[in-house]
């Protein structure tokens, strides 16, 4: 029963051609002539008709699934308030423009002062959202410790580093060093605190770039959902991953691809190491 034109030698080639048009046909985006050609083919080809039905069905189900979302209660009211909150507009000309300019100038000045007084906060303010909050945990330490805090650019010797890292992480630095590209060195390794939180921090340097590997014990509810996540904020790239108990970050001023590559080089060693630190 399902034969159609497939007895012909060129049947499959025609079907192939027609199938390339099926989605555009459904969207009514084909030129008239092509649309009629597809129509004629569908009349005689049950396989392509079945294919069209599948595509139409997926589309209908996709529409139903996406359209099932309901707008959260209160959003409309929030928008109305926000819009109406901006209605107070000046009634007359020049003086109002001048006043507005003065206000803008003040705002800009305050903005500049704030940024200067606390550059970390300025960068951190650009982040929001739940996942971001978890990536921010690592970024905060990188900014506070590796970027804005003065630390010696001279490599610390191995025994000092082991002492600074504390007994639990004393042997981490040489393991990481072994996985770094040849022009990179671990120059610092220590425990540090930022935002009241304890971190284990290796600072690596190479080719004029600074990279942090940052580990911190998870707090309640923190998770990267088992995935590797990457974000760019300002001039920094943050790649976060996790083990059972720890959040781990590779953060650098390199580009996204290089940072991700470095993360891929280090992550297996870090995960294995952290697995040995369970509990």
């Amino acid at each position: 029963m399902n034969t159609g034109p497939h007895a012909k030698n060129d049947g499959d080639a025609t079907c192939e051609q027609m199938r390339a048009h099926l989605d555009a046909y459904l969207s009514r985006e084909l030129p008239d002539a092509t649309s009629q050609e597809v129509q004629r083919h569908l009349e005689i080809c049950s396989r392509c008709t079945a294919d069209l039905e599948t595509r139409a069905s997926i589309r209908a189900q996709l529409q139903a699934a996406v359209r099932a979302a309901t707008v959260p209660g209160g959003l409309e009211a929030k928008i109305r308030r926000a819009v109406r909150g901006r209605v107070s507009r000046p009634r007359t000309g020049l003086w109002a423009v001048a006043a507005a300019a003065a206000v803008i100038l003040c705002v800009i000045l305050i903005g500049v002062l704030r940024v200067q007084s606390n550059p970390e906060e300025a960068i951190l303010r650009k982040t929001s959202g739940r996942l971001a909050a978890v990536l921010k945990v690592g970024l905060r330490d990188h900014l506070e410790c590796a970027v804005f805090r003065k630390y010696s650019k001279q490599p610390v010797d191995a025994s000092q580093m082991a002492a600074d890292l504390g007994p639990a992480f004393a042997d981490l630095a040489p393991l990481i060093q072994a996985k770094l590209p040849h022009n990179f060195r671990v120059i610092q390794g220590h425990r540090c605190k930022a935002g009241g939180r304890q971190y284990t921090h290796l600072i690596m340097s190479g080719g004029g770039k600074t990279v942090s590997l940052i580990l911190t014990r998870k707090e309640a509810g923190e998770s990267l959902s088992g995935g590797i996540h990457q974000a760019g904020v300002d001039r920094f790239q943050v790649v976060g991953f996790e083990s059972h108990d720890y959040l781990a970050y590779v953060i650098s001023d390199m580009d996204a691809g290089q940072t991700l590559q470095l993360e891929a080089d280090l992550a297996p060693t870090v995960r294995e190491y952290l697995a040995g630190h369970a509990g």
Binding site: A68, G129, R130, A132, G227, I228, A256
Partner: protein, 184 residues
């Protein structure tokens, strides 16, 4: 002159708010996060309100709002939120979903949304705008600011990936070709 054409909040709300639902659901699917979608939609309306004086009555308000939404999301992504699950990058997706198989005619909505969420965001945007919001290819090109050929190739690849993922899912459920042959 500058203030001669004051837009009216009533008028703005009347033409713009009916599209809240569509903007929200699109944002939710593009961002994969309801809270972020709320923020972005609110921001979209504020941007729209600010430029409402330049909006020409009678032109397509819905496309205008979607364009602002797309730009707002794009701006967020560029500034910080270039969050992506590395495992779900386009390349890996293409590798794992290489061959097509029949798709079951009925699937759970969550499964479909999950498959959609795994599309690279450019493809997902094109598919949502064309197949759910039913904008024309030309309108999509206008609101994304890309040539129509780009829209067509994103759509073609996005739809194909979605089909492939759904058929992958069908296979994992043990739903084979047999399920769809009975109608002949």
């Amino acid at each position: 002159m500058l203030f001669s054409k004051l837009p009216r909040t009533d008028e703005f709300e009347k033409v713009a708010l009916p599209h809240l639902n569509e903007l929200y659901r699109t944002a939710a699917r593009l961002l994969g996060d309801g809270t972020k979608a709320e923020d972005v939609v609110q921001e979209t309306y504020l941007h729209a309100w600010k430029s409402f004086a330049r909006f020409e009555p009678g032109t397509n308000c819905r496309a205008w709002l979607f364009k602002i939404l797309v730009n707002t999301i794009h701006h967020h992504r560029r500034n910080w939120f270039n969050l992506r699950r590395v495992q779900e990058s386009e390349e890996i997706l293409e590798k794992t979903a290489a061959c097509a198989a029949p798709v079951p005619l009925r699937m759970a909505q969550e499964e479909i949304l999950r498959a959609l969420s795994r599309l690279p965001s450019d493809y997902r945007t094109a598919v949502l705008l064309a197949d759910v919001e039913e904008f024309s290819y030309k309108e999509i090109a206008g609101l994304l600011g890309v040539p129509i050929g780009t829209v067509m190739s994103r759509l073609s690849r996005g739809r194909k990936l979605l089909r492939e993922q759904l058929s992958e899912l069908a296979r994992s459920y043990g739903i084979g070709p047999a399920g769809r042959e009975g109608s002949a």
